[in-house]
Structures are given as structure tokens and as C-alpha cells.
């Protein structure tokens, strides 16, 4: 049986070292699931880290939460999901602190909340309430403050840019995915397709020309 203290330590390390890559999130989520008997402890680790780390890292943890809830609900570890639902306000407040530095993370939070709602892990009413909190926090810092939750230094900014880039790349990789059955794709073409136009006829003509060339010069 793993030593609870050690498990907490390791999980904390994993959380604080989250990056934009999918693998780092995967590793941490799998670790949490492996130690699901300690779910309460691990959950409190998450909250702790959220209230302690840099703005960038909090964004990463926010994404991680989405990942974790997804994996947990699939593996039947509902406790994680439940605890997250219970404490979601605290999470949002931590990721988007009110002093203006949280503005950078507002978009992140919105995205994750939407995803959780789509996966039916959060109620729409909850999301609407949280949205109200977010709009209040979506302001640029009026005064420049020095301190851990103040402005980010250059290194952190670069890091954040890199991680965002990585995340966008990953998002775009699956943008074309169509749900299992063809019906969905056909429906999309049906609804969104333009009417037949000049271009289509022109393409027909060009295709014929090309085919005829091939036939003549076989």
C-alpha cells in the first residue's frame, strides 16, 4: 500500500509540472485514478496547488481537471467528479483571481466549463452562475502590482505562449472528427452545403476535359 504522504507528494509534483502537452495531463490523471482510494486527499492537493501556483500553472491545472473528470467518469470513479462539482466555484475563483491577473485565464475557464457541461459533468445552471463570476473577473489589471499573483514575468509569458500554441495544435488535430455514424456527416453537408452554382458546373467541365485527355493519350 502506497504511503499516503508519498502519494500526495508525487501528485503535487505532477500537478506543478503540468505543461501544455497531452502526456503530462494523461500521466497525472492516470496516477490519480490508480490511487483513487485517496481521492479526497488528491482532490485537496488540487485545490491547494490552485491556490498556490503561478497563473500559468493554474491554467494548466484547469485543463487537467477536465481531463481528470473525463477519465474518472469513464472509469466509474465518480467521487472525483462529485468533489469537483462541489468545489467548482472555489476552483474558478482560484484560477481567475479577482485582482485582475486572472483575466488571462478567463478564456481557459470558460472553455473547460463548456466542455464539462457538454459531457454532462456540470449542470447548465451551475455554468451560468459561474459565467457571472467570470465576467466580473474579466478585467485588465488597473494597477501594476508586484507579488506572486501580480504581473507575469517574461519567462512565464513565453511559457504560456508555448503552452497555448501546443494546446491549439492539439485542438485543431481533431477538428475534422465526425461522430461514428455517417448520418451526422451527411446531415452536416445537407444543412451547411451551398446550393449548386457556377463553380460546380465549371468543375464538371474541367473534369471532363481532363478525362478526355487521358482517353486520347493513353
Amino acid at each position: 500500500m502506497a504511503d499516503p504522504f508519498e502519494v500526495r507528494m508525487r501528485f503535487t509534483t505532477l500537478l506543478s509540472h503540468l505543461s501544455g502537452t497531452h502526456t503530462s495531463h494523461q500521466k497525472a490523471a492516470v496516477f490519480a485514478l490508480k490511487n483513487r482510494e485517496m481521492d479526497e486527499d488528491l482532490h485537496s492537493c488540487i485545490l491547494e496547488q490552485l491556490e498556490r501556483n503561478s497563473v500559468n500553472n493554474r491554467a494548466n491545472i484547469m485543463y487537467f481537471i477536465e481531463h481528470l473528470c473525463d477519465l474518472a467518469s469513464r472509469e466509474g470513479a465518480v467521487e472525483f467528479v462529485r468533489m469537483m462539482q462541489r468545489d467548482i466555484l472555489r476552483v474558478v475563483e482560484a484560477v481567475c483571481p479577482g485582482d485582475g491577473s486572472g483575466a488571462t485565464n478567463v478564456r481557459v475557464v470558460r472553455k473547460v466549463l463548456q466542455a464539462l457541461q457538454t459531457k454532462a459533468l456540470l449542470l447548465p445552471e451551475t455554468v451560468t452562475e459561474l459565467e457571472a463570476v467570470l465576467s466580473a473577473r474579466d478585467i485588465a489589471p488597473r494597477t501594476v502590482r508586484n507579488g506572486t499573483s501580480g504581473r507575469l514575468d517574461k519567462r512565464q509569458i513565453t511559457e504560456r505562449i508555448e503552452e497555448d500554441r501546443e494546446r491549439h495544435k492539439r485542438m485543431r488535430e481533431s477538428i475534422w472528427a465526425v461522430p461514428g455514424e455517417d448520418d451526422a456527416e451527411m446531415e452536416k453537408l445537407w444543412e451547411e452545403g451551398s446550393a449548386i452554382g457556377e463553380d460546380d458546373y465549371l468543375e464538371g467541365e474541367e473534369d471532363r476535359a481532363e478525362r478526355r485527355r487521358g482517353i486520347r493519350f493513353a
Binding site: E173, W176, A177, V178, P179, G180, E181, D182, D183, E185, M186, E187, L189, W190, G193, S194, A195, I196, D200, Y201, E203, G204, E205, D207, R208, E210, R211, R213, G214, I215, R216, F217, A218
Partner: protein
């Protein structure tokens, strides 16, 4: 001094491989005969492969255009490589992998192999793509990718008939959930035939709409060559559409159970439609297949006759033919010999260039040949008979 036999002026002219966006029936049959593929074997490999690709792409949630491209590559590859050279499932995987790159729906080769595995395994045996089990197989697939691209002549112009087909279906008033669905499924089955290699996008789309209309017993007055489906507008002909319809019906009458639409209708339904179309074709003397200008009218053997895979004599040895025997590429001895490259020996003697424009390739050849072909002419010159010289005594 006699000139050396291999007297050459200048650098090697290199071999040109021209991409063929359309390959007609006679060429397809010739290719298959050249690699000793019997009809029955070819049918089996074709149908199994397309089903493989279809199942895996659904599991990976790939859009239909990736499926289209993958199947085309699968067909083209099989026209050049005898099935003893490769495992059809590997070819199917490789064609899907290549298509994913080309259609910008990237998937790692491991993911494709893993999806295939998971489809056949029980949930408890499901693996993740980075399982070491897929390691070697994945490398094989990546190796095949290059051959896929060569077989297709690096031609990335691909067809996407479903796009137009849905527009047409909407325009002729198909029911979105009923007739249109049938047409869509027909278009997927269509790739089980060789029609997508032979026909333009418009022909394919129109044929699917028409066959769906026939299956649903719609009024054909509004479908065949009228209004939005008018052939002259789309620059196709009844012959091409008919060829495609008959190709589809061939598929349904002989292989109904392995298609998507086949099991939904009785065999009789398909046979009846086919009889009607045959009657129309006979009455209007519509040829079964489009022929090349250089084909004789008897170029095509009827698909119902079974060939024993006898090789037909090729018309001369064309140095740019992709069927030149090739040298095997070097690989670790553990792996089975992969299919040989179409470039092969030619690649050792000179460069092989892949071109898209046939006319340009021809012109270049004509120009270059002027320097390489030694033309000899014999002609007689009349020399006046010299008067006998007076010998000096």
C-alpha cells in the same frame, strides 16, 4: 572504328512516370492480367480491403473524404503489385495512413492499427496506441506509404463525390432521412467497385442519385437527364452514368452481403433494375465501358467470364511502364519482403520523374528522342560512269 553500342549524347533522359487521374476498364484489366491476378482473387482482396478501411475509418471518426482517398490509393496500389508481395490488410492500413496525411486528418499509423485491433477484440482486451505490440507493424505501414504514393504517381487531386451528391439529392427533392441516406450509402459502396478510378466526380454523384431513386421507386422522369440532373450541364454522358450504374449493380448482384445497401433490398430488386438498364443500353447501343482512343472494340473482356490469370502479351516493352521488375529494397531479415518499388531498376540507371501533365511528357520525349535515336538513311547516289582511262603504255 565501330562506334560503341551504347553511344549516348549528353545526360540520361530519365524516365517519366505520368500520373493517371482516370484509369479506364481496359487498362485496369490489363494491369491485373500483367500481375497475374485472377478475377476471383482480385474481387476478394478488393472487397475485404475496402471493408477494412470503412470499418477502421468509422472507428477513428474520419470524414468520408479520407475514406474516398484511401480506397483510391488501395486500388491503385493493387493494380501494380501482385498480391503475393504484400498482405492486403497492410496495404489497406497504409492507404488509410497516407490518405489521412493528404486529407489533413492526421492519424498515427499506430492509431490506425490499434483501432483495427480494438474493433476485433473484446473490451477487456482493448489496447492503447502506444502499446509496444504495434511497434514493428507500424514501421511496416510507414514503409508502405512511399509505395502508395508512387502507385498513385504523387497525384494528390482527389475526388469527393458525396459533396455534389448531397447537393443534387437536395435539389431533386430527396427525403433527407430516407432517399438521401440511401444515396449516401450507395456512394460508400461505390468505392467497392472500380468506378471511382474511371469516372469524374459528377458522373459518380449522378449515378448514386439515380440508383437511389430507382431503389425507392421514384418517378424517374424527374431524375434522368432533366433539370438539375441534366447531363449536358454537368458534362457527362448517359454512357458513363450507365457504366457506373451497371458497375454498382454488378457489385450488388454478386456480392450483396458485403455491402452497406445490399442487405436492405432483395436480390431480385437489383436484378430487376439491372434488366431494365440492360434493355435501355441494348436499345440505344450504349457500350458497357468507355474505351481509350487506342483501344480496339474488343479490348475488354466481359467481367462475367473468369480469367485464369493468363498473361496477355504486352504491347512492346515500354521503358516508362511501371511494371518493370524491381530490385527489392534492403530490410532487416526478420521482416517479410515488402512489395517492390515501381521505380526499381530504372532508379539505378537514371532518375525517375513523376509528372502530372501527359502532354508535356510526350512533347519532352519527342524533343529528347531527336538526339538519341540514331537515324540512318540509305539512299543511292548515281555516279556517272567514268570513261575508261586511257592507260599509259
Amino acid at each position: 572504328m565501330a562506334p560503341a553500342a551504347d553511344d549516348r549524347v549528353g545526360p540520361h533522359p530519365s524516365y517519366i512516370e505520368v500520373a493517371k487521374p482516370y484509369i479506364l476498364q481496359s487498362r485496369i484489366q490489363q494491369c491485373l492480367a500483367d500481375i497475374n491476378m485472377s478475377d476471383a482473387k482480385e474481387d476478394a482482396v478488393r472487397l475485404q480491403g475496402v471493408t477494412w478501411i470503412d470499418n477502421v475509418r468509422r472507428s477513428l471518426q474520419l470524414p468520408i473524404r479520407t475514406f474516398n482517398t484511401a480506397v483510391i490509393y488501395y486500388h491503385k496500389f493493387r493494380l501494380l503489385h501482385n498480391d503475393g508481395e504484400y498482405n492486403w490488410a497492410d496495404a489497406a492500413a497504409a492507404s488509410l495512413f497516407t490518405a489521412c496525411k493528404i486529407e489533413d486528418t492526421l492519424k498515427k499509423s499506430r492509431e490506425i492499427l490499434c483501432a483495427n485491433w480494438n474493433l476485433k477484440a473484446a473490451t477487456s482486451e482493448h489496447l492503447s496506441p502506444d502499446d509496444p505490440r504495434f511497434e514493428n507493424h507500424s514501421k511496416l505501414i510507414i514503409g508502405l506509404e512511399r509505395l502508395m504514393l508512387e502507385s498513385a504517381g504523387f497525384d494528390f487531386r482527389n475526388r469527393y463525390p458525396q459533396d455534389l451528391m448531397v447537393k443534387l439529392a437536395k435539389a431533386v427533392g430527396f427525403d433527407k432521412h430516407n432517399h438521401a441516406k440511401t444515396a449516401w450509402n450507395l456512394s460508400v459502396d461505390l468505392y467497392r467497385t472500380f468506378a471511382p478510378l474511371k469516372q469524374t466526380t459528377t458522373t459518380l454523384a449522378i449515378a448514386c442519385v439515380e440508383l437511389a431513386a430507382r431503389l425507392h421507386e421514384m418517378d424517374l422522369e424527374k431524375i434522368v437527364d432533366v433539370g438539375v440532373m441534366k447531363y449536358s450541364k454537368w458534362k457527362t454522358t448517359r454512357a458513363e452514368v450507365m457504366e457506373t450504374l451497371l458497375d454498382l449493380l454488378d457489385l450488388y448482384t454478386h456480392h450483396r452481403s458485403v455491402t452497406n445497401v445490399g442487405p436492405l433490398y432483395s436480390l431480385e430488386t437489383f436484378i430487376n433494375i439491372r434488366i431494365t438498364l440492360n434493355q435501355e443500353a441494348d436499345a440505344n447501343k450504349i457500350p458497357r465501358f468507355t474505351l481509350y482512343s487506342s483501344d480496339s472494340p474488343y479490348a475488354i473482356k466481359e467481367p462475367s467470364s473468369h480469367s485464369n490469370g493468363t498473361t496477355k502479351p504486352r504491347n512492346g516493352i515500354d521503358p516508362t511502364s511501371p511494371l518493370t521488375p524491381a530490385t527489392p529494397s534492403t530490410l532487416s531479415p526478420k521482416q517479410t519482403q515488402p512489395p517492390t518499388s515501381a521505380i526499381g531498376i530504372r532508379g539505378q540507371n537514371g532518375t525517375v520523374r513523376f509528372m502530372l501533365d501527359a502532354a508535356r511528357a510526350r512533347d519532352e520525349r519527342a524533343e529528347v528522342d531527336k538526339f538519341h535515336k540514331v537515324e540512318e538513311e540509305e539512299y543511292e547516289v548515281e555516279v556517272p560512269n567514268e570513261a575508261e582511262r586511257k592507260r599509259v603504255r
